[in-house]
Symmetry: C2
Subunit: 527 residues, 2 copies
């Protein structure tokens, strides 16, 4: 492959468009494909077969594939590609592309289309693929002929790698795949991150002083190195540090700068943000409510607060933090870091609090924690601040069903790390097909499924939006207990081992079993 | 409710938009809702609670809800509504809306949106809902205020009921739900079906004569009454009768006019259609290939064939058939109908042919058969022509994962009929969450899941598109046997009873067990 990677482009006798796609993706560094192909993608499947170097991971539902691309990007720092079947296949992957887009994850979608001669016939599977792709994509393009596929693939990767990470959707009519004339194209330089405004820096330096000032971080500002700089700024200026509620990737644990998150519940968020008169944003957006609630503000910062954006999601957070640190004269400061916590053995029935305590003891060093624990997990994050160093991933788009697929992508990106997926039962059902891919690829993922048998968050939201005394039919529409889901049987039906616990001691043991075994392990946590 | 149904509109003191929605839907005859709500839909959930008359069916994934709307329309002849959470919730339902659109099924999607004041804040769940809805919808509208919700609901139902049945998507910002000022609106008249051209009738009458002429039927032409007229036309003119490969609803069985389908495999389709020099279309489209294949034609009729469209999908097939019958002087003819077949007891290992034989014996009178059997089921349709009278539903949009959800909708529309879902294992996994809703609603659905542990159709398609000697990695990407899915455990994990068979005698017994029991029953058929 080294020749492909160096030359801008090369034409091989007898190469079809599909082969030029795979070779061009490889040349641009994309070597992992999460797939759910159909007839229009068969030549790509064949090309994946005979071109070495691309790892193809089969999924049984497209939302698993696109969510895996999201998790892969967060942990590998480069895009994977999806291989999807026409408009409906893309549509099935759309919700997790929405989440990936909001997380700033770069994804290259390869979507097969009917042969160009077939499009006008309006066959059953014909649909407006560009129209479907548009709302979740930064970049959409349909190749015109086999000779264009290689360069279009390079452009798609370039778009996906542009800051902070973008959704690129490349539509390939099947004749562009099967026709000869494919040309391999080398990598194209992605856009550079935006710089920052000198005036904004000056204002930010002036703003950060004392406990009524806040440095609010998001996106790439949450790497261990950047957090360490933020910690020095906080030590030097006395400002508070917070991150957004949803973070694509946050490094934390003992020895790292601990950072709280702006809470999800609106009343708590308002309370936490109330003290701050001056807020500097790096990689974060000004805090707003997840939803609007009647009679409550949507903007969560105090009236009149000064908000200074030093770097947005597409900016360079490290550059901004270093400049801010220097401007604040805080380079010589020592950041306050989290201390390793060891607690007592947890016992008694499982509750959200005891799960949090078990996790604080049980998260292994270097683990990747994928958090879709919703209501059950409100205490998990603060409780685990002193666990061994680990990575924490949130859902940035709010569309549930992100956790299990993202865990797949993270596990494939980081084969030497343990992945811990913390997922509510309602959320896990959306993309439950993930378990099969975990088993097929023997991925080291331990899943905790929180079986409260309810869309518990919605019971609270019913009150929050002002519904008084919801009746039994409303409550029933938010209940998953009729029938109860059996997660142990579910996991085994797809080839994964599993157990059920309702005691905290058993949970400790089950977590250790899952983390020490090879391959996926599901723990149904009865609440 | 009778007052609401009579008046064009009425305003009740203290009625919010959500209540006006539910009352207006009921006034227009929409009394079934397949839901998967979120925060932005909580007022609708509350309204469903306290307004009597709307049956709300909870699903654990939106593709189940939209597919159920499709099946409901086909069997009830009127739309149900979905209740979906914002753009990503709609996106999860998109593939089955694509299928519903292609089937001519009317669906009313109710999609919650952020409060209008919240939209500009670009919250995590913010997306372009109109953009997502557009590619699968005939009608998209976003309500502006609570007072508009009632009339907008009536318009949505009107659009959904316009021939042949359309996809209407109504987007409701949450403040239009919670604000007071809701106005109930009565039903609005849907568009009438298109008539037909007198000249086309004349040509059609002249065309149908002898075995080189074909009457090709689709859509509403496949009711028992319309097929009986078509049978008289065939008896009087000597023309052949065929339906499209994919039919939204076809009435068949002993005592009804039997009709073949244009085959899916392209070579067979070309062979079947080769004799016909003159083709009259009623409710059907001129035959084209499902996909394009290199070196094969996409138009399946012989070169120079005369094709006369008498009624398209939005026309009135009964009107066209009666006129054609009269024009052909065939009113006094006797249609040839299928005879009841009884066969020998089937034994030996399960194969596609023995399954077909078991079905020929086992389909009960008045059953609804939902066919997503893909490769396993190629012989099911011809083999069951002489079974007791029953209804047969196909996937008209080609996006797999339609079968189990459509079975839910059919079962809810027809509580007194048995539903038989014939589904490939690969297809069933797409919307496997359906099983839970079947159990929850105790629906009389017997599922046969064909466990060939492969995307078998794609192995054939790999050859059809010209891939020579696919290697092991390509074959592996189409294989579901690593690990094997355990469908019995899968069904039980969601509260349904199940069994596994690999012997034809056991299949006969299992089918009888499933059909005689109340509630869902899954049979894993090992191939």
């Amino acid at each position: 492959m080294s020749d492909d990677q160096q030359g801008a482009s090369m034409n091989r006798a007898g190469m079809n468009g599909a082969e030029s796609l795979v070779r061009s993706l490889l040349a641009s560094g994309v070597d992992t494909c999460f797939s759910n192909p159909g007839t229009s993608e068969m030549h790509f499947v064949a090309a994946l077969d005979h071109v070495p170097g691309m790892r193809s991971v089969l999924t049984l539902f497209e939302g698993v594939a696109t969510g895996a691309c999201d998790g892969y990007y967060r942990m590998a720092g480069k895009p994977a590609c999806s291989l999807l079947h026409l408009g409906p296949g893309l549509a099935n992957g759309l919700a997790n592309l929405h989440n990936a887009k909001k997380a700033g994850s770069g994804v290259v979608n390869i979507v097969g289309e009917h042969a160009s001669t077939h499009i006008e016939l309006d066959a059953p599977l014909m649909s407006d693929i560009k129209g479907i792709a548009g709302p979740v994509s930064h970049w959409v393009h349909s190749s015109q002929q086999a000779a264009d596929v290689g360069v279009d693939a390079a452009r798609a990767v370039q778009a996906a790698m542009s800051p902070p990470g973008q959704i690129a959707t490349l539509i390939l009519p099947s004749d562009t795949a099967w026709n000869e004339g494919g040309v391999v194209h080398g990598p194209l330089e992605p856009a550079a991150p935006a710089g920052f405004d000198a005036q904004a820096l000056e204002r930010a330096v002036a703003a950060l002083s004392g406990p009524d000032s806040l440095l609010l971080l998001g996106g790439g500002a949450l790497s261990a190195g950047n957090l360490e700089i933020a910690g020095r700024i906080a030590a030097g200026t006395g400002c508070a540090l917070l991150s957004e509620w949803s973070n694509a990737r946050l490094e934390r644990g003992a020895g790292r700068v601990a950072i709280g998150r702006v809470p999800y519940p609106i009343d708590q968020a308002l309370e936490v943000l109330e003290p701050f008169r001056r807020i500097v944003l790096i990689g974060a957006r000004a805090p707003i409510g997840f939803f609007a609630y009647p009679g409550k503000p949507a903007i969560l910062t105090r009236a009149g607060a000064e908000i200074i954006e030093l770097a947005d999601q597409a900016g360079d957070p490290g550059l901004a933090l270093r400049a801010l640190c220097q401007g604040a004269g805080a380079e010589g400061q020592v950041a306050n870091v989290a201390q390793r916590q060891t607690g007592a053995i947890v016992s008694g029935p499982v509750t959200p609090d005891t799960i949090a305590a078990v996790l604080a003891q049980g998260i292994p060093e270097n683990a990747v924690v994928v958090d879709e624990s919703i209501t059950t997990g409100r205490q998990f994050f603060p409780a685990t601040a002193g666990a061994p160093p680990h990575t924490w991933l949130n859902n940035c788009g709010g569309s549930i069903g992100y956790g299990l697929p993202v865990a797949i992508g993270a596990a494939i990106a980081c084969p030497d790390r343990k992945v811990l997926a913390l997922v509510g039962d309602g959320s896990a059902m959306y993309t439950v097909q993930s378990i099969w891919t975990m088993a097929r690829e023997n991925l080291d993922i331990t899943m905790l499924i929180f079986a409260n048998r309810s869309y518990q968050i919605l019971r609270g939201e019913l009150r929050n939006v002002g519904v008084q005394n919801p009746g039994p039919r409303a409550i029933d529409m938010l209940s998953l207990d009729r029938p109860a889901l059996d997660w142990v049987a579910m996991a085994r039906s797809m080839g994964a081992e599993a157990c059920r616990v309702d005691d905290s001691g058993d949970l400790t043991q089950a977590l250790a079993t899952g983390l020490s075994s090879q391959g996926p392990y599901l723990i149904e946590v009865m609440l």
